[in-house]
């Protein structure tokens, strides 16, 4: 086997067609990885600046406040999801789902759905990242490398001589195809490995990613192998293979996506906002008890302090913000559940399409998948809850204002 591999390696070195596709794969991988690293670095730089500016802005806002309510009202808090050390390989949902927010003590549902995403054209076309390269383009390159291994020798009337000379056909086609698949895999992976080293991705993740790349190429190899058994001209083979690629990479995912989304409707996001706004606005005109009662149900510890005497009190103001969130909580939960449900279904259906499977697997490794984005939103909710508990403990018992105590404000911790 080793002997036939070295023989075919010498042969491959002179096959300009194959070398072209392999070089293209390498170049594309370098481009994808370097764009990915540049993007991730930019996102990190953005976060670093934001963290600094956010702190300065908060300090500035707090410096002029004279009561707890004002301090809570005017202080924004940055939340963010830093890109993982493998995010360079799969930008994933970070292009369409927001990964940074500035929230304050008001009703959260009005803030968490703000989308601070980039240029809409970008989300539409998608990025050229490593995941896209491996999932969508690499199979095409593999097809172009392998489809006419036999058929081209047949057209050149060399097939019989080759097989008669080698004796058993396996010891010719197997090493020939193996080298091409192996070459493609290695040339795709080298830039990924270098990128992972630069970014400091964990070896476990890189190993899994490499296994996914190789596994996907093996699956496509099997497909090409089965199709090219058909005794047809190279161009018919290539046409059929590209048809299969289209089916598996574009048509199946598109149909499944439509089916999954029809089967798992999400509540209209607008409804969530509308209901939350209505609740908050109506509260101004309602008897104050109508607000304080549901609030106390949620936070019984403030029952004693929940009597509102004046026309306007901050504790009432924040209570109706809280109640606004409570009212839409079932809808918001439904929205979240439906997203997760869709993602679970998409995970199942992606078994039908190697392309979807690879993209999803990469996004999972890079923590840029829908789950990671929902987890980030959960972290925002937890942090917002911390903020509420911190401020309620100051606002409800009518603690005297002391700016120094604001130093203990909860800090957002992205790693929690």
């Amino acid at each position: 086997m080793l002997r036939s591999l070295t023989r075919e390696l010498r042969f491959l070195r002179r096959d300009r067609g194959a070398l072209f596709w392999l070089a293209l794969a390498f170049a594309l991988s370098v481009i994808a990885v370097s764009f990915g690293i540049a993007e991730v670095r930019e996102q990190r730089a953005t976060i670093a600046t934001l963290v600094e500016e956010d702190a300065a802005d908060r300090a500035n806002a707090l410096s002029t406040q004279q009561d707890w309510g004002g301090a809570a009202y005017y202080a924004f808090h940055l939340t963010y999801e830093p890109p993982s050390d493998f995010a360079f390989a799969a930008v994933g949902q970070r292009d369409t789902a927001p990964w940074k927010h500035r929230i304050k003590m008001l009703a959260l549902e009005g803030q968490i759905h703000e989308a601070d995403t980039r240029n809409a054209d970008f989300g539409l076309v998608g990025r050229f990242d490593f995941a896209f390269l491996t999932a969508s383009l690499a199979p095409l390159l593999l097809i172009l490398l392998l489809y006419d291994l036999r058929a081209s020798e047949r057209t050149a009337r060399r097939h019989d001589l080759l097989v008669a000379t080698v004796g058993s056909p396996r010891s010719l086609w197997l090493p020939r195809a193996t080298l091409r698949v192996l070459g493609l895999a290695i040339l795709l992976l080298i830039p990924l490995w270098v990128g992972a080293m630069i970014e400091g991705a964990s070896p476990g993740v890189v190993l899994q990613a490499s296994a996914i790349v190789i596994g996907a190429l093996l699956v496509w190899w099997l497909i090409v192998e089965l199709v090219s058994r058909i005794d047809a001209s190279p161009s018919v083979l290539l046409t059929s293979l590209i048809g299969l690629w289209l089916a598996l990479a574009i048509v199946v995912p598109a149909i499944s996506k439509a089916a999954i989304e029809a089967a798992n409707p999400v509540p209209d996001g607008g409804e969530i906002l509308l209901l939350q706004r209505e609740t908050v606005n109506d509260a101004w005109d309602l008897p104050k008890d109508d607000t304080m009662e549901p609030f106390v149900e949620q936070y019984p510890e403030w029952r004693e302090d929940s009597v509102i005497d004046e026309g306007f009190e901050w504790k009432w103001y924040y209570a109706f913000q809280q109640v606004g969130d409570q009212t839409v909580a079932p809808l918001a939960r439904q929205y979240r559940e439906a997203r997760l449900e869709r993602d679970r279904d998409a995970g199942l259906v992606s078994l039908l399409s190697p392309t979807s499977f690879v993209e999803r697997a990469f996004e999972k490794l890079a923590r840029t998948d829908a789950m990671a984005m929902v987890a980030y939103e959960d972290r925002i909710r937890d942090f917002h809850e911390d903020l509420r508990r911190f401020h309620y403990a100051l606002i409800f018992p009518k603690v005297e204002y002391d700016a120094a105590r604001l130093e203990d404000l909860p800090q957002y911790d992205p790693s929690r």
């Binding site: 539409l124 190279p234 290539l238 059929s240 590209i242 574009i250 996506k257 026309g311 279904d345 392309t355």
Partner: protein
């Protein structure tokens, strides 16, 4: 000419006999039909829904009871962007941007709830629209049909016979081009039907016809590229491989690389980033809720002088309303400056992206398609601007009412007790200041003007590709 038709007919005979060709054409036809029907239904639903939501939002606003005017400023309003008629073919950026905006005082919100955020994630090109089928799949069909159309004559030796009979490479190529053109014409039919349907929905004929013309140009470019390859390359497998590479490059690689490149070249800060810078400036403007903010001292002096009184209590108008009006105007100036800056940067990125059309006709057609359909970034930006005007107008009208219709003393005492709160209200009649908002697509002429650059690039592509064919056909020897 009759010779060209003869050759074309021969080509058709061959295609109809090839199972691969017939299967490929049928599959694409079925996909086109299915996608068109699905997209038409989806967009029609959305259009009705958005219109209803817009009307409902207005009715709810008008139906609000007597209130303190500033409460209505915070109560806010919604603006919806219904998809334009041609969105049935090209939904464009609508899926990514979100199509509703909450409008309130002192804030410019971003459009919310883009479909993609909650979409099932199945990787790179999960969404199929009629437009994307035309952009991606039809070129592939032309490649499958045409990659061997000329070189086959060479392979089978008929080229020599034909040339010996006095036919020329140019005449042969003309025949082959006629055959490809007839295929393109047939596959234009679904687009023409969808475009005609959009006209019945109220789309202008000019825009619909330009869209059809744009796609016709695009497919002709691919036809010319395919024909040139089949003349110049002598082996069908190589011709097919080369054309697939061109497709891969133009349809998949360049657009995405162009996205990366234009986002790297022009850094458009996100809203949070620009909001942070803005907040710092905003603090200098003063808080419009707090009429005692020292930032308003100058305004106070000026207003007092204007009405020739000593104290704000003596003013014939409500000082708090004056401050609210003043600070809203100042703030909106600031907000608009940042918003315009952000939009200008995004538009710059998109312009740069459009220039990549010189490297890939797919980018050029995708851009012209979105522009002509009115589902491009510029239309979204206009939606943001118009909804901002709507926001500013109703907020200022309410602030005006605050200044003129509500007594200052009553206003100051509004938090004393329930009765004072009751007194500090104005009549619900005043809510009628809200303008009716119906977002309309740009006029066809405007859209066509915007699509000048990408359409020009398409024409350039066609000119280059067809002169390439002519050149290749002229030098055909056996």
């Amino acid at each position: 000419m009759s010779m060209a038709i003869r050759i074309a007919r021969e080509e058709w005979r061959l295609w109809l006999r090839s199972k691969v060709v017939v299967a490929a054409a049928l599959i694409i036809a079925v996909l086109l039909a299915a996608t068109s029907v699905l997209t038409i239904n989806r967009i029609a639903d959305e259009q009705v829904q958005r219109m209803e939501q817009q009307v409902a939002a207005e009715e709810t606003f008008f139906a609000q009871p007597d209130r303190h005017p500033h409460r209505m400023v915070h109560y806010g309003h919604y603006a919806f962007r219904p998809p334009p008629p041609l969105a049935v073919f090209e939904p464009g950026v609508d899926a990514v941007t979100g199509q509703s905006i909450f409008l309130e005082g002192h804030r410019q919100n971003s459009a919310m709830f883009a479909d993609t955020k909650a979409g099932a994630d199945l990787g790179g090109f999960a969404a199929l629209t009629p437009a994307s089928l035309y952009q991606l799949l039809l070129p592939l069909l032309l490649i499958v049909l045409g990659h061997a159309m000329f070189l086959r004559e060479r392979e089978s030796g008929t080229l020599a016979v034909l040339l010996a009979q006095g036919s020329s490479g140019t005449k042969l190529a003309l025949g082959k081009a006629t055959a490809l053109l007839s295929v393109i014409a047939i596959f234009m039919i679904p687009l023409i039907v969808v475009a005609a349907y959009s006209v019945t929905l109220g789309e202008s004929v000019l825009a619909a016809a330009s869209l059809v013309a744009g796609y016709f140009l695009y497919l002709c470019i691919w036809g010319a590229i395919v024909l040139a390859a089949s003349i110049l390359i002598r082996q069908r497998a190589i011709s097919l491989g080369a054309l697939v590479f061109v497709w891969l490059f133009a349809a998949l690689i360049v657009p995405r690389v162009a996205i990366n490149a234009s986002s790297a070249a022009i850094d458009a800060p996100g809203k949070i980033e620009s909001d942070l810078v803005m907040l710092a400036e905003q603090r200098k403007l003063g808080d419009g809720h707090n009429a005692a903010d020292p930032a308003f001292e100058q305004l106070q002096a000026q207003v007092l002088e204007q009405y020739d009184v000593e104290t704000i209590e003596e003013l014939p108008i409500n000082w708090r309303g004056v401050v609210a009006t003043y600070s809203e105007a100042e703030l909106t100036n600031l907000l608009n400056r940042f918003a315009e800056n952000r939009m200008a940067l995004e538009a710059g990125q998109s312009r740069l992206f459009d220039l990549f059309g010189l490297a890939s006709p797919t980018i050029a057609i995708a851009s012209s398609s979105r522009m002509l359909a009115g589902t491009d970034l510029a239309t979204h930006h206009r939606f943001l601007r118009e909804s901002e005007n709507l926001r500013f107008d109703f907020v200022q009208a309410l602030n005006q009412a605050h200044a003129t219709d509500l007594d200052y003393a009553l206003d100051m005492n509004r938090n004393n007790d329930a009765a004072s709160a009751e007194a500090a209200r104005i009549n619900a009649e005043s809510w009628q200041v809200l303008d009716e908002f119906r977002f309309q697509p740009d006029s066809a002429v405007d859209r066509l003007g915007r699509a000048r650059l990408p359409l020009g690039i398409l024409l350039l592509w066609l000119a280059i590709a067809s002169s390439f064919v002519v050149w290749a056909a002229r030098k055909v020897r056996v």
